[in-house]
Symmetry: C3
Subunit: 333 residues, 3 copies
């Protein structure tokens, strides 16, 4: 009883504050979101934070709804995070992996999705190796689509949880200087961060070897920098991307030792950073490679906080897209 009332009040006050109505039933990326939309997601997540801290971590918002985790790429964290977020809102969750599924019998993405939809799925959370797959899906189904990572394109909930963590630590993103360090070219995490941070008024620096910069980086609202040491002192947050071993040995990525020397965050390099710099990482960490173990576990690290906030952000996203879908289903007055 108290739970409901508390939740109710929070929602009411959120509405009072911004009078903003969320209308997207899909979340495909952060590139297209307005400042108001981004702030609305962050504020909604703020309102969900306390559910995860209660003794009984449950809210009835999605009771009787079905969320499907449609993952065409391996993932544990993101999948579990979405799963828990959905359970916490009382939804039923269906796990669906490409392996051992009809997809291996040659069924197309579209057929798979339409079949799931025919079973009454409300929200599809999709991860796919092809950029644009979630968009494609959103064009051929009526249910909500949430992008959980598509190719090198976007990973919007990761971008949002990173941004939520920065806002939680600093209050406001406007004017913050954020470096994203590593293999930017192949990082959907970087891309979602760039769009979200830029829209919210932060200044984004991309740091890494030229071979790992995305083509067309000059079209992005960022400053590109090949020397980490040159800019580290000005930064408010360092988002250290994971080194992807499968790329080592390619011309783009000569050796791990060379990479570490230039772009790893170690105690030596950390001395040049601001005292209160935020050290971020999307996980899982290669300890001692892109990030020294002591720094990962040290006072500047927001890494576990990011994981916790991931759940909260995903609750907010599932809640909002479902709300928008319900709104669209209503008959016109």
């Amino acid at each position: 009883m108290t739970t409901k009332t508390k939740q109710g009040n929070k929602m009411k006050s959120a509405e009072k504050n911004d009078r903003f109505v969320w209308t997207r039933k899909h979340l495909l990326g952060l590139e297209d979101l307005s400042k108001q939309e981004l702030v609305h997601i962050l504020d909604t997540a703020e309102g969900f934070k306390d559910i995860s801290e209660r003794a009984i971590k449950k809210a009835p918002a999605l009771r009787g709804k079905v969320v499907v985790n449609l993952f065409f790429e391996d993932s544990t964290r993101t999948r579990n995070s979405f799963r828990l977020a959905a359970s916490r809102l009382s939804a039923d969750v269906l796990e669906f992996t490409a392996k051992g599924s009809s997809v291996s019998k040659g069924e197309t993405l579209r057929d798979t999705a339409r079949n799931l939809e025919a079973m009454g799925i409300d929200i599809v959370v999709i991860r796919h190796s092809a950029g644009g797959a979630p968009y494609l899906l959103s064009q051929c189904v009526d249910c909500c689509v949430v992008n959980a990572g598509d190719g090198f394109h976007e990973h919007p909930t990761q971008g949002l949880l990173d941004i939520f963590t920065m806002r939680e630590a600093r209050g406001d993103l406007a004017g913050m200087k954020v470096a994203i360090v590593g293999d930017i070219a192949h990082s959907r995490v970087a891309r979602s961060n760039i769009w979200g941070l830029h829209t919210l008024g932060a200044e984004v620096f991309l740091v890494g070897p030229p071979t790992l910069m995305p083509a067309g980086a000059d079209q992005l609202p960022v400053t590109v920098c090949y020397d980490f040491d040159e800019i580290i002192g000005e930064m408010d947050a360092l988002n250290m991307l994971r080194v992807q071993f499968e790329r080592i040995g390619l011309p783009t990525f000569p050796s791990v030792r060379e990479y570490s020397r230039l772009f790893a965050l170690n105690s030596e390099r950390m001395k040049r950073a601001k005292k209160d710099v935020l050290v971020m990482h999307p996980g899982p960490i290669n300890r001692g490679l892109e990030l020294e173990s002591e720094i990962a576990d040290g006072p500047n690290s927001t890494i576990l906080r990011q994981v916790t906030n991931g759940l909260t952000i995903r609750m907010a996203v599932l809640f909002l897209v479902n709300q928008a879908a319900a709104e669209k289903r209503k008959p016109e007055a």
Copy 2:
């Protein structure tokens, strides 16, 4: 509150209508079911249809019950459909696959089942490559057994959902002409359809090359036909079976092109069919092989409707077998 009352009324009116009491705690196949039993399942499913259309897709009928999905063959659709049906009735669902289970340690089917039962399982949904495995199981456990496909024997819930879909479209099955087209010999879907349709008064035609007709087809209540074009014009429904690639190249199945020319449903052949013929497929479709893409997505197709009805049928089946088991547990008055 209203939910309960609505459901209560529906059940009451169903009882009033037929005064029939369902007594089977297993569903092993459609061959043994009486007309009254078949109609009772279809009517019960009809009563469950609206649950899947509510905002909150939940009914408490199986709360505190445990359903195990015991699948010895790969499956995504049927497994998920049973899983969702059970969840929708508030049951807990346990997934059990042969791979990575004790079965690979040499445990017998019987031991596996009795162990699951000792954990308090209420309903076992079993898929197995050996025809008769569900029957065997039902002989050595006390809990309910539902056949989700056994060898080339039966797939009763698929038969029921096909029949439910035809009844939904036409009102009555008596006198309907239904062609089942393709590899009948190896199709448990065909077999369940044959028995169910025959009992309900429909006329069944088996269409395919002689090599893919079942041995003893002359003992079945069907008309066998090797020329699709000869009979297509009279049919009210065409149930297009999936081509199973693993059989191509065998003497029974010379080439895909040859098969398609004679037995695929394409726009050319479709011209000879009745305007309102129902085009059915158990999925997943090989688009362009047994079924042309435009027809699969066209106005005559019931394919997605079949998926939706599958959930409803499975809810009804789980509900009924559990009810029968509860009845048997009651002490005699």
Copy 3:
């Protein structure tokens, strides 16, 4: 309503009886548990027994809590048993297997656990091939840790369910003579049984070839015996361990036939046993190898009862560790 009251009464009477307060938020093994602690778990399980026998097998004790099954070794029974135990107490369960997880990307056990914890996990149930892994985990996380089998070390819930089954059959363990037969050296089940039985006053006999006795068996509170026939007549319970085929052919284990002749429980050998001897097995059985089929299914067998009790014991353990954690979180008065 009645459910709650019944449960409430049961709990109250349990408290009245022993005035004992459980304080461990981890269950890592039975070696360290006092007699009072062991009895308290058994009594708590006794109180949960009726939940599994109700029509609606649910209690709200862990509602809104998240239990993760963190299994680094294959398992079906133990995993499912924990899963059902958690569901029966209304917890949400997350399945986590090493395969296809971040662990294969080189994440350490500690990182995995801390990440799960950051997602708000309340209880980690861990199985690991390395003895001591659950202890290690309990040192670096705040949530509860339950050992579901670690290397050759312990499998405490299996020990407890064996002991619970003996107590259920005999009322008291003091003075009972229990033989554990087979590959003791590599059995965590044996080890947990030894500690628990000894603390509760039973006399433990280890039976098997010298090559399969643990190093340092003389330090354990047991009688070692190489001749099964010599002692079988005095025993009250025979716990027949599973033969692990992967060890056959090693110098320690010459041949299956030789093993069976000396240590299998068959009808011939059974004649020398007490009429009411309990025949136990942790499952899955190799029928005809360590245990003859008729005996496994005969009147002395407690094998399915052990499975049923496993669920009850695991409910009790999950309930108690969670209670201890809640107690520790309370601010000091």
